[in-house]
């Protein structure tokens, strides 16, 4: 799997796909997309990169261990869940910031939850595939 075309394509496509997955995550609340799809997209892009350049190189590009991402995702999900309780509401109740952040729109614990799903999916998928690739 070390064709020049694949290598070049993945190197060019990787940043594009990662940015696109972030975009998918953000727009997911209003249009098709969201954490699952965004996460799968990132994972797909990085897996393709790993296929072309090898898992070690992919890990280097990713910089963090996939399991760290997985943990961070679970943390985000839990934080979003308990934010509801901290605010004196039911667990997992969505809380919305009263202001808009440029480029992100309204921030909310729901977005944090979706981010957690995104990171969780990326982390789990890459952890599986990298481990397999290196085995």
């Amino acid at each position: 799997m070390s064709s020049v075309i694949l290598r070049t394509a993945t190197r060019l496509l990787l940043p594009l796909l990662l940015v696109f997955s972030a975009f998918i995550l953000l727009r997911g609340h209003n249009e098709p997309g969201g954490g699952f799809i965004g996460g799968l997209l990132s994972a797909g892009a990085l897996s393709a990169y790993a296929l072309a350049w090898g898992p070690a190189e992919a890990r280097r590009v990713l910089r963090v261990d996939p399991r760290t991402l997985l943990g961070a995702g679970l943390l985000c999900v839990c934080a979003a869940a308990f934010a509801g309780i901290a605010a004196g509401r039911e667990v997992l109740t969505g809380l919305w910031a009263p202001f808009e952040v440029p480029g992100l729109g309204k921030v909310s614990t729901v977005l944090l939850f979706d981010l957690g799903v995104h990171l969780g999916v990326v982390g789990a998928t890459l952890s599986i595939l990298f481990n397999l690739g290196e085995d």
Binding site: N30, E31, P32, F36, L40, V121, A124, T125, I128, N131, L132, D135
Partner: protein
């Protein structure tokens, strides 16, 4: 159309069961994947089939247009797809380790190893 999809569910499930009944663990993986597809499709069809009207709220509206597709089976199936991937991955690795340890993917000879 529901009839056609029902038949597809049957074909996918039947093929999956046939593969589960093989002695090869690798075919068992394929069987699991096909059965996942069958079940996802089954849940999806129970919500009723609607063409070209996804459960999205248009920019200027407050609610989705009348006659939109049921969002609940979709949400169920979406998580099921991702879980199915997790299951598939885990099974793959398990099979791989079993074959690595026992040197075969024949379930019948594993029985001999048990005793």
């Amino acid at each position: 159309m529901a009839g056609l999809l029902a038949i597809l569910v049957g074909v996918l499930f039947g093929a999956g069961v046939y593969l589960l009944l093989r002695r090869s663990l690798i075919r068992l993986i394929f069987g699991l994947a096909l059965i996942s597809h069958a079940v996802n499709l089954l849940v999806f069809t129970t919500g009723g089939l609607v063409r070209g009207n996804p459960p999205l709220v248009p920019p200027e509206a407050q609610v989705p247009p009348a006659g939109h597709a049921d969002p609940i089976p979709q949400a169920l199936v979406l998580t099921a797809i991702v879980i199915g991937f997790g299951l598939l991955a885990f099974t793959c690795v398990l099979v791989k380790q079993v074959v690595k340890t026992l040197g075969t993917d024949d379930t019948d000879s594993m029985r001999a190893n048990e005793e």
